[in-house]
Symmetry: C2
Subunit: 333 residues, 2 copies
C-alpha cells in the first residue's frame, strides 16, 4: 500500500510529531510522458524547517495538508518518458511517499552510475557537498597555514567543509555537540582539532584550539558561536554564512553582538544559498568523486530506516542527534 | 604662545570637555633633519573616539597626559630637512598644537599644489575621500540602476560615497539627522532622495525611498539602521561597513538582529579600514581631483575656528552637529 507524509500544522518554535500526518494514499498512475518513481532515500536538511513556516524562506512554504517535499533518490518503476528507463536511479524534489508519479519527468535527474552509490547524488556529490565546497573554498578561500573553524563540524556540510579546507593546506578546527561527534570529526574526518561546545566554554575552546586566531569561520549555526568567532577572528577573516540553524527554531532573534569587530578586523561575512551555484555541480562532481572513490575524502551518511520514521528523524536532526548526512531509507536499493 | 591639547581622562560613554586639557607649551626647537610645522587644519574623525579608549582600536590608544593626535595640514615654518622647504604645505599625524616639531620629518607628506586647496589632502582627496571610494565602489560595486543607500549621508565620507555611486549610474538615497542635512544631501550633493532619520520611521522611509529595495548599503552607523537595511536589502546586496558610529560611544552592545537575512538574501557585509588601502591614494587623487576642479563633484568642509574649540568641535561632531567634513582651523592659510 502506498503511503505519504503531509504537513498537518505549522510548527511554532521546535517542530514536533503533531506537525505531520502519515496516511495511505493511492498508487500513482503513469500518464503519457510521466515517470513513476519508487523512493529509496529521502534527504533531511535544515532548510526544510523554513519551508514549514507560513512565508517564503529559501523556497516557498509547504501548504498545510500537502505532502512534505525534499530531495529524494529513487528508482524508476515505470516510465512513459524517453529520457528515463525502468530501473534508472534518479533524483528530484519529490513528495515524501513510497511511490510518486513525476508528470512528464519534470525536475527529475538521472544519476550517472559512475558517481558511485546513488545516495551520493543528494549527499556528498549533491547539494550538501557543493554547499561545503562553495562556502569553504570559494567564499572562505583558505590559504596554506590558515586556521579554519567549522561549526556543526559533524554535520552533512561541516564534515566536508573541514576536509576541503584541510586539502587546501589549512589547519582545521571543528566544534560539535557531544563526544561521539567530536570523535567522528577527529577520527574519520581527520580535522586537526575538535571540541564539544556543550562541554567547554567557547572562548576557552577557541583560545586553546585556534591559538593563532581564526582566518575562516564556516558558520552553520549563528548565535553565540558566531559571536565567539568574531572575537577570535584575525584581521581579514572570511565568514561564509551557510545557515544559522540556531535561529531556525527560535521564536525571537537575540541579535548578534560584536559586529563592530567586523570593521576593526576587516571581516567579510557572506551569506550564500546553494541554488545560486547549481551550474557548478558537474565540475564539483568531477573534482570530488575521485576523492570519494580513492578514500581520501570521508563522508558519513546517517541512515534511518522506514518512511514512518521520517518526521522523528527530521526532528532529531534539528536537535542535533545525527552524525553526518541524515537520510531516511524507505525501500531497499 | 604655543598651545596644545592633551587627553586628560578617558571617556566612559560620551566624550565631554573634561576629557581634554588645553595648556600652554614650549615653542618647538628644530634639531638636525627636523621640520617645524605650523598647524592650519586639524581633521576631526569618528575613529578618534576609539583612540581615547584604553585598548587598541584601529590605532593605538592615546596615553593620558599626552597630546591628542590626528591628521593635520600645516605649513613648514622651519626645516633642516632636505625634503621640506619653508612655506611648503604638508600633512601628517601631528599633535593638536599650534606649532610642532616633526623629528626628521618622519610621516610628513608634502602636499602637491596641483591638488587644489591644501585642506583637501585630509578631506576629499585624503583618507575620508579614499574611504568613500573603496567602500562605495570597490566593496559596493554599484551597477547602473542599483539602489545605493548611504547613512550619515551628510558626513565627510557619506557625501562622497553617494556621489561616487551616482556617477556609476546608481540611484542614491541618503539618510541624515535633521532637515538642514537632508537639504544639503539633496541640494549640494545631488542624491536622488534623502530623509531625516530623526523625523521618519526607518522602515517607512526605506519603503518610500527605496521602492525597489537596497542593492548597496554603505554603513556608517550600525545599530538599528543596519538592521533596517537588512530588512530592505535585495538578494545579492553588498554592505560595506565603514564604521559603526552608533557603537563608538555605547557602553553596551545591543547586538544586530536579522543576521539570518544575510543567508536568505545572500548578503555580503565587508568591514574595511582605509589604512589597508593607502597605496591606492595616488590613483584615487588622480581620478577625483579633476572632478573637484570641474565642479562635478561637491565636497563640503565644516570649519570651526580656533584650537581651543577643537574639543567641543569633536564632541559636537560625534553628536551629529557637523555637515560635511569637520576641520578645525587653528591658523590663517
Amino acid at each position: 500500500m502506498n503511503t505519504r507524509i503531509l504537513l498537518e500544522r505549522r510548527p511554532v518554535g521546535w517542530v514536533d510529531a503533531s506537525c505531520f500526518r502519515i496516511e495511505p494514499c493511492p498508487e500513482p498512475a503513469c500518464g503519457a510522458e510521466d515517470v513513476v518513481v519508487e523512493a529509496i532515500w529521502l534527504s533531511l536538511d535544515p532548510y526544510l524547517r523554513g519551508r514549514m513556516n507560513e512565508g517564503p524562506s529559501y523556497a516557498p512554504g509547504f501548504a498545510i495538508g500537502a505532502p512534505i517535499v525534499s530531495r529524494v533518490v529513487g528508482r524508476v518503476l515505470a516510465s512513459r518518458n524517453a529520457r528515463f528507463a525502468e530501473g534508472d536511479f534518479v533524483w528530484g524534489f519529490l513528495d515524501w511517499a513510497l511511490r510518486t508519479v513525476v508528470p512528464r519527468g519534470e525536475g527529475l535527474t538521472r544519476i550517472d552510475p559512475a558517481l558511485g552509490r546513488p545516495s551520493l547524488a543528494i549527499s556528498a556529490l549533491g547539494m550538501p557537498g557543493l554547499t561545503a565546497w562553495i562556502g569553504a573554498m570559494e567564499i572562505g578561500r583558505p590559504r596554506p597555514g590558515d586556521t579554519v573553524y567549522v561549526s556543526s563540524a559533524a554535520g552533512a556540510v561541516g564534515q566536508l567543509a573541514g576536509q576541503f579546507a584541510r586539502r587546501a593546506g589549512a589547519r582545521v578546527v571543528g566544534s560539535a555537540g557531544g563526544p561521539d561527534k567530536v570523535a567522528f570529526v577527529l577520527g574519520r574526518c581527520g580535522f586537526d582539532a575538535a571540541f564539544d561546545y556543550k562541554a567547554q566554554d567557547l572562548d576557552e575552546a577557541l583560545r586553546e584550539h585556534c591559538p593563532r586566531g581564526i582566518d575562516v569561520y564556516f558558520d552553520n549555526v549563528g548565535g553565540s558561536t558566531l559571536e565567539a568567532a568574531l572575537r577570535h577572528a584575525n584581521v581579514g577573516a572570511r565568514f561564509p554564512l551557510c545557515g544559522m540553524i540556531s535561529a531556525y527554531n527560535a521564536t525571537s532573534d537575540a541579535g548578534i553582538k560584536g559586529l563592530p569587530l567586523m570593521v576593526s578586523k576587516r571581516i567579510a561575512m557572506t551569506g550564500f544559498i546553494i541554488y545560486d551555484h547549481v551550474h557548478q555541480l558537474p565540475a564539483y562532481q568531477a573534482r570530488v568523486a575521485p576523492w570519494l572513490r580513492d578514500g581520501s575524502l570521508h563522508f558519513h551518511e546517517d541512515i534511518v530506516h522506514g518512511l514512518e520514521r521520517a518526521p522523528a528523524a527530521l526532528i532529531g536532526m534539528m536537535k542535533g542527534e545525527a552524525i553526518g548526512k541524515r537520510l531516511v531509507q524507505v525501500s531497499a536499493v
